[in-house]
């Protein structure tokens, strides 16, 4: 078995054993505390450019499901490929058992050339990220005294994960334009399940001047800093004036806030888990949500006709916004779940109701 190290820019070093592809990578280190759903998480484009640490120590137990297409989408995954730059776990289960599994996690990682290490004290690592804040690190093979890899040129991560050309998913009469900033398949699936035809367009698509007719706009999740999407934000500012229904999810929520005149900031270590409680301030109901984001809307940065709809019951950060008069919704969490709890699936119904 090959060993490798995980080095943090603060100087910490953890030794691990490789179970993925043996290659050096650099990336932002983030941790997720969910206990199930590694195939979904690994293929979530929001993780692009990041080395993911799973705090649940036993990973790989149920293998990896087959690649089956359904309605043009990878049925059991959130995108076409593994999106994380690297994976860090405590224990990798070499043996897997599940009626659906077609290969092991290790086989999958190797095939997609993603490095992964196990036998690392992921709890200690998480505590370190919790107290220092999110930081970069690298997975390094070989025993040479390593220097830090050249940090990849700052790139627009959204651009990297978005599509090139529009794709249309036919369903009912009503049509949604989906701005793909790194969309998870489950968002599309949820729209299709409500009989909405989805016009999936690249993040920089000019939806103000399009040949497509559509009844509502969905701003997807995606990686990185929402401010990188200035092109999109500018267009959205114009679009808001049309008062057409909008749903922003995760990054899309932040983009919506920025277009509405609000501001965003980077959280110390983000929210990546399946157990974040979100309180609906309008009815005092609390939902358990699945999350994956490093940025948040600054509280108080949005003005009057915009309402804070939901807040995080733990750290009180903004989890959802709404417009008082217009059909605009934004949620910071993932109503499409996958991985995670399905409690807030009703957000899609709320959106559907706006599409009169």
């Amino acid at each position: 078995m090959t060993t490798a190290s995980l080095e943090l820019i603060n100087g910490s070093k953890y030794k691990g054993i490789s179970f993925g592809f043996d290659k050096n990578v650099f990336g932002e280190l983030v941790f997720n505390t969910g206990m199930v759903g590694y195939p979904e998480a690994l293929t979530d484009p929001s993780y692009a450019g990041q080395i993911l640490i799973l705090t649940y120590p036993l990973i790989g137990n149920y293998g990896v499901p087959p690649k089956i297409k359904e309605a043009g989408l990878n049925k059991y995954f959130e995108s076409e490929k593994i999106q994380v730059s690297g994976l860090i776990v405590s224990e990798y289960s070499f043996y897997y058992s599940h009626w659906q599994a077609k290969q092991s996690l290790s086989q999958w990682l190797k095939a997609e050339k993603i490095p992964a290490l196990f036998d690392i004290d992921t709890r200690q690592l998480t505590k370190e990220l919790r107290s220092f804040g999110t930081m970069s690190g690298q997975i390094i093979f070989g025993n040479k005294k390593s220097k830090f890899l050249v940090r990849p040129k700052p790139e627009n991560l959204v651009k990297k994960v978005s599509i090139q050309k529009p794709i249309i998913y036919q369903a009912g009469k009503k049509k949604i334009m989906l701005l793909d900033c790194g969309v998870k398949n489950s968002i599309i699936r949820n729209l299709l399940a409500r009989n909405l035809t989805v016009i999936r367009v690249p993040w920089d698509y000019d939806f103000l001047n399009t040949k497509y007719q559509f009844d509502g706009l969905v701003l997807s999740n995606g990686p990185g800093d929402p401010n990188d999407c200035d092109l999109l934000i500018g267009r959205l500012k114009q679009f808001l004036k049309l008062k057409k229904p909008i749903l922003g999810i995760c990054l899309g929520n932040q983009i919506l806030a920025l277009a509405a005149g609000g501001s965003t900031y980077k959280l110390k270590y983000g929210h990546r888990c399946q157990n974040q409680p979100c309180l609906n301030l309008l009815n005092q109901r609390c939902y358990i949500t699945s999350q994956n984001h490093g940025y948040a809307i600054k509280s108080g940065s949005l003005s009057k006709p915009w309402l804070t709809w939901l807040i995080n019951a733990n750290d009180k950060t903004i989890e959802g916004i709404k417009h008082k008069d217009n059909p605009f919704l934004g949620v910071q969490f993932h109503p499409e779940a996958n991985p995670g709890p399905t409690d807030t699936n009703f957000i899609f119904d709320d959106f559907l109701n706006l599409l009169k």
């Binding site: 941790f31 199930v36 649940y56 043996y95 157990n275 409680p277 109901r285």
Partner: protein
Amino acid sequence: MKKDKIKKVLILGSGALKIGEAGEFDYSGSQAIKAFKELGIKVVLINPNIATIQTSDYLANRVYFLPVSPDFVCSVIKKEKPDAILLGFGGQTALNCGVALAESGVLKKYKVKVLGTSIKTIKATEDRAEFAKIIKKIGLKCPNSQAVYSVTTAQKAAKKIGFPIIIRSAYSLGGKGSGVVRNDLQLKELAKKSLAFSKQILVEEYLDQWKEIEYEVMRDQFDNCITVCNMENFDPMGIHTGESIVVAPSQTLDNYQYHLLRQVAIKIIRYLGIVGECNIQFALDPKSNEYRIIEVNARLSRSSALASKVTGYPIAFIAAKLAAGCNLSKLNNSITKSTTACFEPALDYVAVKIPRWDLKKFKQVSPLIGSEMKSVGEVMAIGRKFEEALQKAIRMLNIGADGLESSLSQTDKISNPTPQRIFSIAQALFLGKKIDQIHKLSGVDLWFLEKILNIVKIEKKLKTKKINADLLLTAKKFGFSDKQIAKFSGQSEEKIRSLRIRNKITPFVKKIDTLAAEYPAQTNYLYLTYNAGFDDLNFKTKNQVMVLGSGPYCIGSSVEFDWCAVNAAKTLRQLAYKSVMINCNPETVSTDYDECDKLYFEELTLERVLDIYDKENPKGIIISMGGQIPNNLALDLEKNKVKIMGTKAQSIDRAENRHYFSKLIDELKIDQPAWQECLSLAQATNFAKTVGYPVLIRPSYVLSGAAMSIAFNGDELKAYLLKATQVNKKHPVVVTKFITKANEIEFDGVAQNGRLLNWAISEHIENAGIHSGDATIVLPVQNLSFKEEKRITEASAKICQKLKITGPFNIQFLVKDKEIKVIECNLRASRTLPFISKIAKINFVNLATKAILGRKILAVKKPLAIDYIGVKAPQFSFSRLDGADPVTGVEMASTGEVGCLGDTFLEAFLKSILAVGFSLPQKNILISLGGEKNKSDFLESAVILKNLGFNLYTTSETNKYFTSHGLATKKLAKENDSKLPKIKDYFEKRKIELMINVTDEEFVNKIKGDYEIRRKAIDYNIGLITNIELAKTFIQAIAKLKINDLKIKAWDEYI
């Protein structure tokens, strides 16, 4: 409902510990009391289980040590006029009692509001037919089934559904009355039995080898709903969740399955309108995503206690708040103190629960496990690898296994599981069987089997390869103990330990924090693991004292030791020490992280205690509060230079070792039954011949009379000696003259440096020969003369001085013909300590802890003077142990106990007997007495019964004897071929309410047909008394007292 309206709430406890309803309800009740008190609501508690923490004077505002039955609860309601009642915290006992009170209109009449889940919902979940209907109505699936109320309809239903069939009964727990049947004959037999305990049974398709998955769900009245935790049973469907090895969180479910079941759980719970907590069980097809809903338990349960300990989420506490009307999102997570309770814990470890069985304690019991619970306790282990947690858990069981070893299996067939199955699997793998084959036989998921194979592979390596640091580290990561490694590699435990420490291979301490390190934890809920590289603590705390808890509950060691450990920790805080608790039993209060400053949910093995001791560096360690497990560590701990606080290890050894102790008693010139240490059969036979049979064979260092037997002749002596030497080879066997017809006395005391500080003397109602754990005990003594009492006290003081006791101790005496004789001495808290503490209103553990820590204490010079009486009665669980002979003897068999108070002895006695489930016979009593002596002894009592207007039935010899003494009774036949009316038929038709069947120990297994009728009585839920003194006392009591004479007085009203 507004919470400020409720001023006083009545909480129902679960009564004595029994199979299926054990310590978990002490935990849940205690938390409920704390929650209500925090809300400013007065709490009245009814629970006769006197050894519990919930019945402590500092918790509820008022405690009634009365049976949790509709009559008594109704009387308490009349008296206390509570605004509300809580039914979900006292197991099935409380739930069923609540339903009965609602149905009879009592709750309505006295305007008592049911808090939390409504009666309507409770009924919908307990009535299996109703439940199935609801599930179908909301479009979900449960197994194909039919509810029936008679044997013939059961047969019809089975034909329709097709065999194999599982029978399940309503309003029960622990799988009572359930079982798999594969043909009509089996169905008929089981249906008959099940219908004796429950009026409704479900005939259902058997989901062979489906996975069994549980979720714990909380909901508030505002419809906020979360699942605290899910759990996967290692053993598939068909083995009760309480009999299964359970893993949390689930290991083989993917995201879709995990969240599908979670979503279904929430949907059902919302539909049912549960408020508080509930448990939901699923069956999941291993070959698809098909699932079935098995049941909802609309109350706190064994599983919820487990989930609470698994996650650190205080389920019972929060559930009580929700029942009181609180909003879940407004409550705090008590571990982080800064986040909300409305969230779902994220674990960064894996927990494994294993049930603790004690089937060897029962004669003739079936060794198989299935859908009915038989286990008496459980352990939980935490690790960062499944293998690590599993092996830890196996050691925690305290069954002599140092981990999962392939050589420990005996007779288990993997397809017909017994408690040994896990060992059989290891053995089969060791011998080269493939996991697929084992999967076919057992239905255990391949993932788990592969993990066991990992363990087996390392066992092989350890047995064949030279141990180096790498192999050692690997073995430790996979949960091997030093002892196990030593055994496999042919070295000593000490050597492995020092090799390990030299190579810096030591475990790390991690916190359980509910959020996988996302937020800092403010509490110290801890475990150790080798699968880490850093500690979560810095070990700078000073002034710490460690307390060892009880480990798993088993026969002879149960909630009483938890009470002692909790009170010791409490006293430490009072004395400004920091307490560090070690325990591994998820049913306890001592493993609530707010009961001590640091809680290690860990093994009570030498290795682990030393690991923790080395890290924490405490002032010392208290081993006298947790029963026999910590006590047995005394010498080894001392050898490793651990500072034992209290009585010295040497003294403990001198008391525990029967041989040393007997010698010491001789030296002190205190009388004792004649004894001899025997190394050979010849020696034993000679001794027995000299003193005369019967003789008692006792191994050392055991609790609750394990492998202790009475031999009435040479053959028996030979057989028993063999058994005793198998139990514990390290210590010799002592053979003692067995004294018949002696009175047995318990002396419980606390001493400091050999000086007796305080004590209490209690007396057994049964003559010696019934294990003190199975005896009915009364305080203060009733039949002891002043002189005898004085001599007992003096003898105890002498022993105390000789052994330089500091802390709690217990000495048992026999009294016969005015002579007192010592039979044993334990230099630790005893089973009776909570009972006497609560009856005498002197907290002996508090006193003992102070003595241990060297506080100056004035000695009490006078015996106890109270003018009320306390009686402690044992609870048996024979009905749950298929085939077990329900007789008592020198080996303990009871699973729990109650303690009740009265102004007179008979009042307290009768209350306690009712509290363990006896009901007063109304009409028909069957008497069957073995031997002339018992017959003549009982004659007077029989006459009393006759005069009270009872119909007396007898078996032939008893009938003959009574007739010849002028007492006419009706004759019934034990045998099936007799022309007389048969006992069996009378039982089946419920024409007998009580059977008195007494046989002397000598003949108990020899009288033909006796075992069969005793067993039948149990199977048909007929009252049974098998001890002559007990029977006589019972008859005296019913002759003197009517139910209305039993006073409804709270504990604080006895002064």
